[in-house]
């Protein structure tokens, strides 16, 4: 066994174990951090495969951005609430285990018995090296051969922006009942006046009516960030 193989098994083992940790950890924050380790190890495997650009994407997008998103969700939805939600019927849990194991067995069987060296793609390692490396070749191909999917990808991202705005912002932002124009007001919370008014009348800021705008589902509890009016 050469070094690359040893390192692969090391990375793979840690990736699988931490992935299991994501599922089985009781505390969602622990899950998120286990996921960080898992992602980093997968990035290591990409490096071993010579897919350096993919490794960089894995670190920047997954361990960077996606994990930030996960931590935001954990912050927004308190862990106590998640535990209440986790009450799937026993039959469902059993069925999920059964089907999951069946899928695992199926994939394992194919990988164990199938001939895994299929037709080679158009870019064998020698050609990648000749083109000046993985990232360079991806650049060449993505922006010439795959230019149409690349431009469509920007449309997918645009829809994602629109989706975030529609689903994340309160209705009054969308129906145009607020001040218009391309202006930014950093550090001037729109709800601050109401909070100050509430405090003057002796109502604790947290209980001030109609604070902030938690968007869509009435949580029955004022959001902390908005309540303080920072």
């Amino acid at each position: 066994m050469d070094w690359a193989t040893i390192i692969f098994y090391l990375l793979a083992a840690v990736a699988v174990l931490t992935a299991a940790g994501v599922v089985f950890a009781r505390n969602p924050v622990h899950s998120a951090f286990a996921l960080v380790i898992s992602f980093l190890n997968v990035a290591g495997i990409y490096v071993l495969l010579g897919a350096e650009f993919l490794a960089a994407v894995q670190v920047i997008v997954y361990t960077g951005a996606i994990l930030v998103l996960f931590l935001f969700v954990i912050m927004l939805v308190r862990p106590e609430d998640l535990r209440e939600l986790n009450t799937a019927p026993r039959v469902q849990t059993a069925l999920a285990w059964l089907l999951g194991l069946a899928l695992f067995a199926e994939l394992g069987l194919v990988i164990a018995t199938g001939v895994l060296t299929g037709a080679r793609g158009p870019y064998p390692p020698e050609e990648v090296a000749a083109a000046g490396g993985n990232t360079q070749l991806i650049g060449r191909i993505l922006y010439s051969e795959f230019l149409l999917p690349f431009e469509v990808a920007s449309l997918v991202l645009l829809v994602a922006v629109v989706a975030a705005v529609i689903l994340g912002l309160p209705d009054r932002f969308l129906t145009g009942e607020r001040a218009r124009g391309l202006s930014l007001s950093l550090g001037h919370p729109t709800g601050a006046d109401r909070v100050l008014e509430a405090e003057r009348r002796g109502v604790p800021a947290v209980d001030a009516p109609d604070l902030g705008e938690p968007g869509t589902i009435d949580t029955g509890r004022a959001p902390v960030g908005a309540g303080r009016g920072r």
Binding site: G118, V159, V162, A163, L174
Partner: protein, 492 residues
């Protein structure tokens, strides 16, 4: 090392994207104008006009480009005649949706600009899939199409059911997407190509077509695409997502994403994995029988017409899969794929029509249960007649559009030697008559339970009228339309 990349693109190549560019323009204009202008009836009318003329333009542009197939963008996209047919169906379903949305969406306090924009983005995604000849292109097209529909399904975000349905749809669909892309990865791993024609050529040279890796690739692709088309047993999201979404959205999402999914299925399974026909056809047969049976039988138990139509749309997926199962080879004498194309075409008109009448009822202060239809023939006879018309067509009563759609499917199944499958289609259609006609009976023989509250719906009425006309007219013209589908498919 200076080794410039040559991209061979001529002006002619951009022609294949003209219909797509028009719909993209609709998406960007409605998004921008909707955000810039203050909400007013005038703005809403302008947004509707942009959408209507945009989709009409896309349909006309696509039809003008028939008979001159062209592949461009390094084999990523092609505007062959099958693409034109599917583009017309998808754009037409968006157009019909605009008609039933224009007055409903503002009445329910939802932002119309964003609504039209997402509708156009979803349509664009479907059109891109229809004209894609590469797995990567199909993937991004499907994602663009379904991402927009997730948001549309959650558009009534103050209602808990809307959020719930959209969330179920989103989570399960993400899972299916993962399976789909895994299948694409296996396909690429085995064949070394993402271009569907290349895949087909390489598969044809393989001696052992039952290699486990190949079977796994095909299986994963079928599961992923079957989910998008709402085939049983991957249908779990459908009833909740359809019921939760605002009714015009339900009309759209019961048609456009389904047509998109079938466009992808035709491209991937027929054009790409055609040489593996013997391997995937049995699976499609099983899926079709399950889908027809469950869709039709569960629909009987529904009191809510919206949910009933959701299950009935599952059943229609089953009929379309029967046509797919009859596939033997690309080219002459094979009626299977033309029958699937025709079914998609017919389904778009009658299904959006049925949901349209439902939206009309809601706009007039009614609910969506079967009791809300009681005596509609007395209180609002044109809408009742239209609804009866659409339901008869969905059942498959001759000489309406739906009858010919089913007829061609059955014919294709018999020709392929699956007579028993054709019998199943007929039997389950008879079952479907029970729940469709129950609504008709409620409208014509039920006691009127209060007149609908008045609302301004002239534009809406024009749309419903157009759909009634289409269902009748294309029923009579079914021969020529099928010929078109056949001829376009032959040119593939």
């Amino acid at each position: 090392m200076d080794n410039p990349v040559a991209v061979a693109l001529t002006l002619e190549d951009f022609k294949i994207l003209i219909p797509h560019a028009i719909v993209l323009a609709v998406a960007l204009l409605t998004l921008g104008y909707g955000a810039i202008a203050a909400p007013s009836p005038g703005r809403n009318a302008a947004l509707t006009v942009i959408s209507v003329f945009g989709y009409l333009g896309a349909i006309v542009a696509a039809l003008l480009l028939t008979g001159q197939p062209r592949t461009a963008f390094s084999g990523m996209g092609a505007l062959d005649d099958m693409a034109v047919f599917l583009i017309v169906v998808i754009a037409a379903s968006a157009l019909l949706t605009v008609f039933i949305s224009a007055q409903t969406i503002p009445a329910w306090d939802m932002p119309l600009g964003e609504y039209y924009s997402l509708l156009a983005f979803s349509t664009l995604g479907g059109m891109l899939v229809a004209s894609a000849v590469d797995l990567v292109m199909i993937f991004v097209g499907i994602e663009l199409s379904s991402l927009s529909v997730f948001v549309l399904a959650a558009f009534a975000k103050r209602r808990r059911e809307s959020i719930e349905g959209a969330l179920k749809y989103f989570l399960l669909s993400s899972f299916a997407t993962a399976i789909l892309i895994y299948g694409m990865a296996w396909t690429y791993g085995v064949t070394g190509a993402t271009n569907l024609n290349d895949i087909s050529l390489r598969l044809a040279t393989y001696q052992d077509r039952t290699a486990p890796t190949l079977l796994l690739a095909a299986l994963l692709l079928i599961v992923g695409l079957g989910f998008k088309a709402a085939a049983v047993p991957f249908h779990m999201w459908t009833p909740d997502a359809y019921q939760g979404a605002p009714t015009p959205v339900t009309a759209f999402m019961s048609v456009a994403p389904k047509v998109t999914a079938f466009a992808a299925i035709l491209r991937v399974l027929v054009q790409g994995l055609g040489p593996l026909r013997e391997q995937w056809v049995p699976l499609v047969i099983v899926l079709s029988v399950l889908t027809m049976a469950l869709g039709n039988l569960v629909a009987i138990a529904q009191r809510d017409v919206k949910r009933m139509l959701a299950y009935s749309s599952i059943a229609h997926t089953g009929y379309m899969l029967v046509g797919l199962a009859a596939f033997r080879q690309i080219g002459g004498g094979d009626e299977s794929i033309p029958s699937v194309l025709f079914y998609n075409f017919a389904y778009a008109f009658m299904n959006i029509g049925a949901f349209g009448v439902l939206a009309w009822l809601q706009l007039h202060g009614k609910g969506t249960t079967i009791d809300d239809f009681n005596g509609l023939a007395v209180t609002a006879w044109p809408q009742a007649a239209a609804m009866a018309f659409f339901l008869f067509s969905l059942t498959g009563v001759p000489p309406l559009l739906g009858f010919y759609a089913k007829y061609f499917i059955i014919l294709a199944a018999i020709e392929a030697g699956y007579t028993w499958l054709a019998v199943v289609v007929v039997l389950l259609s008879a079952v479907s008559a029970y729940y469709y006609l129950r609504v008709v009976a409620a409208m014509y023989f039920g006691d009127p339970a209060g007149a609908p509250t008045p609302a301004r719906t002239r534009f809406f009425g024009v749309g419903l009228g157009a759909m009634v006309l289409s269902v009748a007219l294309f029923g009579i013209l079914s021969g020529p339309v099928l010929d078109l589908a056949r001829q376009w498919y032959l040119a593939l």
